[in-house]
């Protein structure tokens, strides 16, 4: 398990990237202000300063608390978060102030995670606690009284004036549990050499897989949340395959997911509806297909270079600030801007998987893989849904969509990735020094 000889980024690169991100976001904000006739910049300028301050704070906290961490991740996240903020500010001034607050809480959670989790390996100790917490969070919206249904999906918790999506945090808790569990069991799960009692042992090892499958079906059926259940299952299969290897697990996982999908499709009207409007939104352009049709019109209106910020009409798309925010990006920033956002997510995946490959211990490797998979698959699912590559499922675009739970959970996720990369960098010079000493 040797890391490929990729060039490593240094702190200077990270800082200059952060400045580039700030310049891009600031320029986007200024352009949005020019595009709108109303006095957008005057009203919301303080919030933009707050966003800049938060991104700088996140970077400084990373340099202090995880000095050897990969420095390029925070600037990319800052770019996405900042760009998302500008788009949301342009769409809805009331949401902009909230989004600034959520970003502040997200960055605070980021710093807190770096403070509390000094070594990634510490997390292994809490794996069963995290598993229980994860399952609890995933199923919490089903509880009467605090659970609430929005847009047909029951995945919200009403806490005072705020509504939270606990599923966003559950993914992280379960990724940690899976990483720890799979690292321990991977000898049993690996194809090839079978001990004598292999069959029984394998059956036992399969248990969690079936459990995960059942959980994702429950989420799909009871909460009607196709996006989270797909993401959750993809995360589990990816981690299982990376841990154990072979083609058995991915094939088994895929076929189980297919069976689950077919059952869900044949038993539930809302699943059939999702598939139908994916294949042909046009025949229901003014009812169920309205959202997708409007999103398609938005992308077409944007063309290659976009209408320019605040110069399109993305308000025509339902849920444009949350799940369909990418359509607003496509309309106003065009193919160029939308492709840049996709590229930013691709970069997070590349950097995240590089952190995974560099990590010293299998647990950290697998955890980094899982966390990266969450960001990659989630952005793929929602962008694919909005562009009609996949059926549309209601999940957020990490860092860009409006929404507290998503922002907070993804900042925590980045903090964990950085903690893993920091650990790997901490050890390396020591080892090299000892080698030199020899």
């Amino acid at each position: 398990m040797t890391a490929p000889a990729l060039p490593r980024s240094n702190a200077g690169t990270g800082l200059s990237l952060l400045v580039v991100a700030a310049v891009i976001v600031g320029a986007a904000y200024a352009l949005a202000g020019l595009g709108q006739t109303a006095s957008l910049p005057v009203n919301l300028f303080p919030f933009l300063i707050v966003i800049f301050g938060l991104m700088a704070l996140a970077y400084v906290a990373m340099r202090r608390l995880a000095p050897n961490a990969e420095p390029t991740l925070v600037p990319i996240v800052a770019l996405l978060n900042g760009l998302g903020y500008v788009v949301i500010a342009r769409l809805n001034k009331d949401l902009a102030a909230n989004q600034a607050m959520w970003t502040a809480i997200g960055v605070a959670a980021f710093v807190a995670t770096l403070v509390l989790v000094r070594r990634a390996a510490d997390l292994e100790r809490y794996r069963y606690l995290l598993m229980v917490a994860g399952i609890f969070l995933l199923l919490a919206p089903l509880m009467p009284g605090i659970g609430s249904t929005k847009n047909g999906a029951r995945l919200w918790l009403e806490v005072g004036p705020f509504s939270l999506q606990p599923g966003e945090l559950a993914k992280i808790a379960l990724a940690i549990f899976f990483a720890s569990y799979l690292v321990e069991r991977r000898e049993l799960l690996a194809p090839g050499s079978l001990p004598t009692d292999a069959l029984a042992a394998r059956a036992r090892a399969i248990g969690p897989l079936v459990g995960a499958w059942a959980l994702s079906i429950i989420v799909m059926v009871a909460e009607k949340d196709l996006g989270s259940s797909t993401l959750f299952f993809a995360l589990f299969v990816a981690m299982l395959w990376v841990a154990a290897g072979g083609y058995l697990w991915p094939l088994l996982g895929l076929s189980m997911f297919s069976i689950g999908s077919v059952i869900a499709w044949s038993s539930f009207g809302h699943v059939q509806e999702r598939v139908r409007i994916w294949i042909d939104p046009w025949s229901k352009a003014s009812s169920d297909g309205f959202q997708l049709v409007q999103a398609a019109f938005a992308f077409a209106a944007g063309g290659v270079v976009g209408t320019g910020l605040a110069r399109g009409t993305p308000q025509k798309i339902p849920a444009v600030a949350t799940d369909l925010v990418f359509a607003a990006v496509g309309e106003e920033l065009g193919l160029v801007g939308a492709a840049a956002v996709i590229a930013a997510f691709a970069l997070i995946v590349v950097i995240g998987l590089r952190i995974a490959q560099r990590a010293e211990r299998p647990f950290e490797q697998l955890l980094a893989t899982g966390l990266t998979t969450i960001v990659g698959v989630q952005s793929f699912l929602i962008i694919g849904g909005v562009t009609r590559l996949l059926p549309l499922t209601g999940i957020t675009l990490p860092f860009v969509s409006y929404g507290g739970s998503s922002i907070i959970a993804n900042w925590i996720l980045i903090a964990l990735l950085l903690r893993i990369s920091s650990g790997d960098r901490l050890e390396r010079p020591v080892r090299m020094a000892s080698r030199r000493a020899r």
Binding site: M1, T2, A3, P4, L34, G35, Q36, T37, A38, A238, W241, V242, A243, G245, A285, S286, V293, A296, F297, A298, F299, A300, A301, G302, G303, V304, G308, R311, T313, Q315, K316, G330, G334, L335, A338, A339, I342, F345, A346, V349, V350, L353, A356, Q357, P362, Q365, L366, T369, T373, G376, V377, F380, I383, G384, T387, R388, L389
Partner: protein, 484 residues
């Protein structure tokens, strides 16, 4: 494990590439098709959101303006004067399109008639690739206000025109409508407002001045008189017998009666002064349908007026062939009944033709178009529409119309200090009610204003009805127009 991590990256990478393919399909390959899809309202929204110039009166009263709004349309169209000018401005609605000046001068208002050279580099950078233009109408707000208040809450219309240029000075009707609710951005409210207006049996949305036709009644006798001078001069000296009713030829013993059993007769001047139906009916029969029809067409009947507001109605006079099958019809048509219909605008043009030596100038509401820096983009140049009659005939008919105002049925149309020429009309609409008409111009020596007034469905059928009800309105409007 690192190998599989790398392969996982590859799989996700393929996924991201597929996203770029899907994105390219939407934003490049299918973009044109999606943009032109009839369900795509973005183009409409953009057009509706575009900045739009002012519409104002000749005396500088703002009738329509666009102010910033914080919704998807970015701008709200406002009509500060409400219903008063609606017959001219019309409305601009996202759901129901545009009417009136908003529709007629849309291109100017959105800056579309400016040439590329008028746009500066700075405008391109500001995104103001199109500058708006302000439209100034010929309408005079003071005259419009007087016309509306004088008409009051009586169904009808008033049109005032400058006979020498064709410029419309006032055009009002009752009932009318407030264009503001139609320009609102909450589509349900707009729909409700529009449906209420269009289902109203009184038709408040109808610009009666130029889009509704009525039997012109005795005001048409001005055209019949002109026809006599132009085409059958012998009739202008003929002494018509004093009658209460005129037996009609080939009608199976039917006859045409004067209102209220009045007795009248004499030469043409006497006939016009008291508006003698039997006399003019006989004159029509004497002259024949060919001449009467030709004269009506010379005055603009059966021709769509080249008016610059949209969808002006064409006034109708029966074709000469129609009279061949129905000879008594000539008698009725000569007094503006039966198959004759005219818009108030058309009857104002009849008065204007007499006032302007027989020449009808093209009617218009457009004064000038200016860019956002106040430079004139274009100015309306007065032009002739048609020659209705000769200057000599016009002078003769004018003299008779002066008599009508001085001592005939239209004495209430007089304006103190100036000579008024006028003709009343009472068009029967059924038993016991009639449309009260008046056409007039002043000052008779050098006319500056011609008017047509109609008040619909007034009780009392008699020659006095037009003079009693419509004449005072005409008097007020002419006085206001001469004061401006």
């Amino acid at each position: 494990m690192t190998g599989r991590i790398q392969r996982l990256g590859l799989i996700l990478g393929v996924g991201f590439c597929l996203l770029l393919v899907a994105l390219t399909r939407l934003q490049v390959v299918d973009a044109a098709k999606l943009t032109s899809d009839p369900r795509n309202t973005r183009g409409l929204t953009a057009a509706f959101s575009a900045d739009r110039g002012l519409i104002q009166t000749a005396d500088g009263v703002v009738l329509a303006k666009s102010v910033p709004s914080n919704d998807e349309f970015k701008r709200q169209r406002q009509y500060p004067e409400g219903a008063l000018f609606a017959p001219v401005t019309g409305y601009l609605s996202f759901t129901f399109g545009a009417d009136g000046a908003e529709r007629a001068f849309n291109k100017d208002l959105v800056g579309g008639t400016l040439t590329a050279g008028d746009r500066t580099l700075r405008d391109l950078f500001n995104g103001n690739s199109k500058k708006t233009e302000d439209v100034t109408l010929t309408i005079n707000a003071a005259v419009q206000r007087v016309a509306a208040s004088s008409l009051g809450n009586r169904k009808g219309a008033v049109v005032a025109i400058d006979p020498t240029t064709g410029a419309i000075l006032a055009m009002v009707n009752f009932p009318t409508f407030d264009p503001n609710p139609l320009a609102a951005h909450t589509q349900d409210n707009v729909r409700n407002a529009y449906n209420a207006l269009s289902n109203d049996p009184a038709h408040p949305l109808l610009p009666r001045g130029y889009r509704e036709s009525y039997a012109p009644g005795s005001t048409f006798k001005v055209v019949t008189s002109s026809a006599a001078f132009d085409r059958a001069p012998e009739l202008t000296t003929k002494n018509y017998p004093t009658l209460t009713q005129l037996p009609l030829p080939r009608s199976g013993g039917r006859s045409l009666r004067n209102f209220g059993g009045e007795r009248c007769g004499g030469v043409i001047t006497d006939l016009l002064r008291v508006s003698c139906n039997t006399g003019f009916a006989q004159m029509g029969l004497d002259m024949g349908g060919d001449d009467l029809s030709a004269e009506a067409q010379a005055f603009g009947f059966d021709n769509k007026p080249p008016f610059d507001l949209p969808a002006a109605a064409t006034s109708r006079f029966p074709d000469a062939n129609e009279f061949k099958r129905n000879e008594p019809g000539v008698a009725f048509s000569a007094i503006g009944q039966q198959n004759v219909s005219a818009t108030p605008l058309q009857m104002a043009l009849v008065a204007a033709a007499i006032a302007n030596d027989g020449v009808i100038m093209t009617p218009h509401v457009l004064g000038s178009v200016r860019d956002d820096r106040g430079n004139a983009v274009r100015t309306y140049d007065a032009k002739q529409w048609r020659k209705a009659t000769s200057p000599e005939t016009a002078a003769a008919v004018k003299a008779m119309m002066i008599e009508v105002a001085a001592s005939g049925t239209a004495t209430r149309a007089r304006v103190s200090g100036v000579t008024v020429a006028a003709k009343t009309g009472t068009a029967q609409t059924g038993t016991g009610s009639a449309h009260a008409w008046l056409i007039a111009f002043a000052p008779a020596e050098a006319p500056k204003v011609a008017v047509a007034v109609i008040v619909e469905s007034q009780p009392g059928v008699g020659e006095a009805t037009g003079g009693r009800i419509a004449a005072p309105i005409a008097s007020d409007v002419m006085a206001a127009a001469l004061k401006k």
